[in-house]
């Protein structure tokens, strides 16, 4: 339980740096597909820096408003996304120390990332535009699809450790990581990590077919804060899989914080790669899959884990 005040400041800085690195890696993958393989290291560098140049461009761009827009709701929606990510990151341990490790760490994480429901809908509703409202509603459909399997995956991890405190979940994975004996819960959690940040195959709320859906009318700082918030949420979602299923700081040779960084980077690279490999899943088809396939699977996993816990 790090009660040092520096950890409260270090968390946002680390998350923003991780988000920039992840955005650079994603820009590299996208550029190699769009413009062909990078010749020299200089081209490789400029491609990796495109997100930062884009951020500078957006900072300089004045925001524009649509007619009869509810700018207050847009501003709350866009500001709420990074806030939700940072609040959810409060229970993320680096190695074995986190900003705060309450007894209900897992439920806190779930509650804070559920704030994205309000954030994306408000951002979609605010500008009073057709496509952005459609994008906002799509996130509600996505939420309905991913939320229950996600909750049961988190509960299964808590069940395995016998506690909702993230620290104890990490401690319970001393010998055997949860990902090994709870593979379905780990897979469902990764799917819901993608869905939570509406990233990869689940980016229909900001889909290319609806001109970036909820973010269609965002420009300038609003757009930067919104998409920056989405990156932060993706980083936090990927990072939370480490203490929950991949043994947090445990691992031979390397110090605890190094293992956390390595594992988070691996999960983040996997999540970013998935976006390159699949088209956007349309929610009317994914909703059926989520309710009729994922939910029973994750319930069976919870049953299996509880039987193991009772017999142990």
């Amino acid at each position: 339980m790090a009660d040092a005040w520096w950890s409260v400041l270090a968390l946002p800085v680390m998350l923003v740096v991780a988000a920039c690195v992840a955005a650079g890696f994603d820009a590299l993958l996208g550029a190699s597909a769009a413009y062909g393989p990078a010749g020299s290291v200089r081209v490789w560098g400029t491609r990796a820096a495109t997100p930062l140049r884009e951020a500078r461009r957006l900072l300089g761009q004045p925001a524009r408003r649509t007619k009869a827009a509810d700018t207050a709701l847009v501003r709350v929606g866009t500001a709420l996304l990074p806030t939700a990510a940072l609040l959810a990151g409060a229970v993320l341990p680096l190695g074995f120390t986190a900003v705060s490790d309450p007894g209900v760490g897992i439920v806190w994480f779930n509650a804070m990332e559920a704030l994205a429901w309000a954030a994306v809908w408000l951002t979609g509703w605010g500008p009073n535009a057709a496509l952005s409202m459609i994008g906002g509603y799509r996130f509600l459909a996505l939420g309905l699809a991913y939320e229950l399997p996600h909750m049961f995956a988190l509960t299964t991890a808590g069940l395995g450790a016998g506690s909702l405190r993230v620290g104890e979940v990490v401690a319970a994975q001393e010998g055997l990581w949860f990902a090994v004996w709870m593979p379905v819960a780990f897979a469902v959690y990764l799917l819901s990590a993608l869905a939570m940040a509406f990233w990869g195959p689940f980016d229909q709320p900001v889909g290319a077919d609806a001109a970036q859906g909820a973010a269609a009318e965002l420009s300038g700082v609003d757009r930067l804060v919104f998409f920056g918030g989405r990156w932060l949420l993706l980083v936090v979602a990927a990072a939370f899989s480490v203490p929950l299923f991949l043994g947090g700081g445990h691992g031979p040779l390397l110090p605890a914080w190094a293992w956390t960084v390595v594992k988070t980077a691996a999960v983040l690279a996997l999540l970013i790669g998935v976006r390159r490999a699949l088209p956007t899943l349309r929610l009317d088809r994914f909703m059926g899959l989520a309710w009729m396939v994922l939910l029973p699977l994750v319930l069976l996993q919870a049953l299996a884990v509880s039987v193991v816990v009772v017999l142990r």
């Binding site: 408003r65 007619k67 009869a68 827009a69 509810d70 700018t71 207050a72 709701l73 709350v76 309450p102 007894g103 209900v104 439920v107 806190w108 779930n110 509650a111 559920a114 704030l115 429901w117 309000a118 809908w121 408000l122 509703w125 009073n128 509603y137 509600l140 939420g143 309905l144 939320e147 909702l164």
Partner: protein
């Protein structure tokens, strides 16, 4: 969070004031989206208060449930509300004064009760882990409550599905084709029922488009679209702000 002394006291008062402000705003906002999220703000403050009172698990669960619930409530607010975006200033209240008087009396009564009742000071020691305590109670002596809650939730799911879907008990057995004639169950007797409140207000929709007379008044339940209703001149009710409004930004 345990009893943090002065600091917790200050935060609890701030959250209390915020909760009441948001609660009042819920009924003063014109836009349904703002009303919904003001209600969310109020209930998040309630979750914060429960956290401050030491019930960590229940506080966070309230925050989680309320966020998801208000997001879904937003869908219904837009579906059923006359003025979801708050662009048309209109009030949908009846006898606001009477309601204010009654709720004021109730509040006065409760406050009197709070200050007059000699609350017992002695209290049993708070258990180390209230969540563990709650879990034990729900699985032990309160198993009956747990069962009824489970059954109530299951009944709610089944009832919601049958009531809401068109193929449920109350919808037409075969959903009306999108543009077919109106289903039989729109009896004509609702054509002109006695509704005192509406008579003096211009019953038909305020028109903003001169050239498309969609006279959609309450009485006009006939399926034909855009039938120009001779009885209602078009111009009534459109606000005196014909052209070129300034933009709110």
């Amino acid at each position: 969070m345990t009893d943090g002394g002065v600091w917790a006291g200050v935060v609890s008062v701030v959250l209390a004031v915020l909760a009441v402000i948001c609660a009042v705003q819920v009924f003063r906002f014109d836009s349904m989206a703002r009303a919904t999220y003001a209600l969310l703000g109020s209930l998040l403050c309630v979750g914060g208060e429960v956290l401050l009172l030491g019930l960590d698990y229940l506080g966070v669960v309230i925050v989680l449930m309320m966020t998801v619930e208000m997001a879904l409530m937003g869908v219904f607010m837009v579906m059923f509300m006359m003025n979801p975006g708050g662009l048309m200033p209109m009030t949908m209240v009846h006898n606001a004064r009477g309601a204010a008087v009654i709720s004021g009396l109730v509040f006065a009564g409760l406050t009197a009760g709070i200050f007059l009742v000699p609350w017992p000071v002695s209290r049993t020691r708070a258990p180390a882990d209230p969540t563990h305590d709650l879990g034990r109670a729900l699985m032990g002596p309160h198993m009956l409550t747990m069962m009824t809650l489970g059954l109530a939730l299951f009944a709610a799911i089944v009832a919601t599905v049958t009531l809401a879907t068109a193929r449920g008990r109350y919808g037409p057995s075969t959903p009306a084709p999108p543009h077919g004639p109106k289903g039989p169950e729109h009896p004509d007797e609702t054509e002109a029922p006695e509704r005192p409140h509406e008579q003096e207000a211009a019953p038909e929709r305020p028109h903003v488009r001169e050239d498309s007379p969609h006279a959609h008044s309450r009485e006009d339940l006939t399926p034909s679209h855009g039938r120009q209703d001779p009885a209602h001149p078009r111009e009534t009710g459109s606000p005196a702000h014909p052209h070129g409004r300034e933009d709110p930004s």
